[in-house]
Symmetry: C2
Subunit: 229 residues, 2 copies
């Protein structure tokens, strides 16, 4: 039982750091989303499309989580107000971002000048669902070539998502993916999830995704202001 | 340091169980491969293609690793000599198969009647690279829609692979994937890896993959027989 106890301790410590991170974000009026997916499903592409669409309205920063390399941060650098790269290789948890990595990253971001923080998690459908980071919303991207059975095989991450983005819609003619069946499975796990069908390559569906995100930011700001007043 | 010590203990215990698994496989003349990839890259499809091609020559069993569900095992059931499903949800390690899960699975397989054991790991490019299972060869599948940068972001799993299967070749006209650049990156991490370019959908390249696998089985059988004699 020793290992299980230690895991519980780690999770409890993580939850309390995550709550502290969220307090800090709220203090500065920063809305944060945690973007999770398999490797290569389109996290960086969705971030780039979101910045392109919203950067005239909002100041946007990005935290890039990767096992190794800085190539995603480099892709984003010239587009975002600020970018912090986290490499998880050689860390005790290499398969996911965890709250204390975000704690460190927040110390390196100009929080007073940021309204939206996009956190790109490590590409993985398992570990990231276990670690709260302090985010306000959790988003899972599922891309068509992965197949429509992912929510059946990796239920936890879908059960906990506020939004599910179905990406690579441009590949629909070339792959076997039953969108209604996929949505039906996710709804069975999580009736409150919002769905967005997009192609980050062509831009299809990005408008709806950004409209939802803008609404969520606005709702959250009102909630925080009412709490403060 | 307490957590790191415990992780070291777990890894050492895993390595010794993996060595015992390999001893048991060798005793029965079973050649085992550990198939790893992102979710949806084509592990099950490669297994089905491999069985279709080799089942008249070899008796083939499968161990299916999934976080949840038995859908892959059901797909394979009627094709393989035997299938064991492992669900990792709620286990201390849910993000990868580990050696003691294989130990349990081997107790449920008719090892005396099996020549090739295909182990489908959990869909994940991070955790599975850390756990030896007792396999003789490690195979990583990378599918074109994931992008050619995966070896840069997830180097460990590629550095350790005996073979790298590039799957979903049928999607090459519709995605941005530079095959020579991908191979070049992998070769930088791992000069000994063999490459196979396949489409599990159309069957392209499966012949070469199965020829390599057959050769490896034959070489291994000779090695074991010489050792025994």
């Amino acid at each position: 039982m020793r290992k299980i106890e230690i895991v519980q301790n780690i999770m409890e410590a993580n939850d309390s750091i995550a709550a502290r991170n969220q307090g800090l974000l709220d203090k500065h009026g920063v809305f944060a989303i945690n973007i999770m997916s398999s490797p290569g499903a389109g996290k960086t592409s969705l971030i780039l499309q979101t910045i392109a669409k919203l950067k005239n309205k909002l100041s946007i920063a990005v935290i890039e989580g990767d096992v190794a390399s800085t190539i995603d941060a480099e892709k984003i650098e010239s587009h975002a107000a600020a970018v912090v790269q986290i490499n998880t290789r050689n860390m005790p948890e290499s398969c996911s971002l965890i709250a204390n990595m975000i704690d460190c990253a927040l110390k390196n971001l100009p929080l007073g000048n940021i309204e939206l923080l996009l956190i790109e998690n490590v590409g993985n459908l398992i570990c990231p669902s276990e670690f709260a980071l302090g985010e306000h919303k959790r988003v899972v991207i599922s891309s068509l070539p992965e197949g429509d059975d992912k929510p059946i095989k990796y239920p936890m991450i879908f059960a906990d998502a506020d939004a599910v983005v179905i990406n690579k819609l441009d590949l629909l003619p070339y792959v076997d993916f039953d969108i209604p069946a996929f949505r039906h499975t996710v709804e069975g796990l999580n009736p409150r999830a919002k769905f967005f069908e997009v192609s980050c390559k062509t831009g299809t569906g990005i408008e709806d995704w950004c409209a939802w995100l803008s609404d969520e930011i606005e709702n959250h700001t009102h909630k925080i202001m009412n709490k403060g007043g």
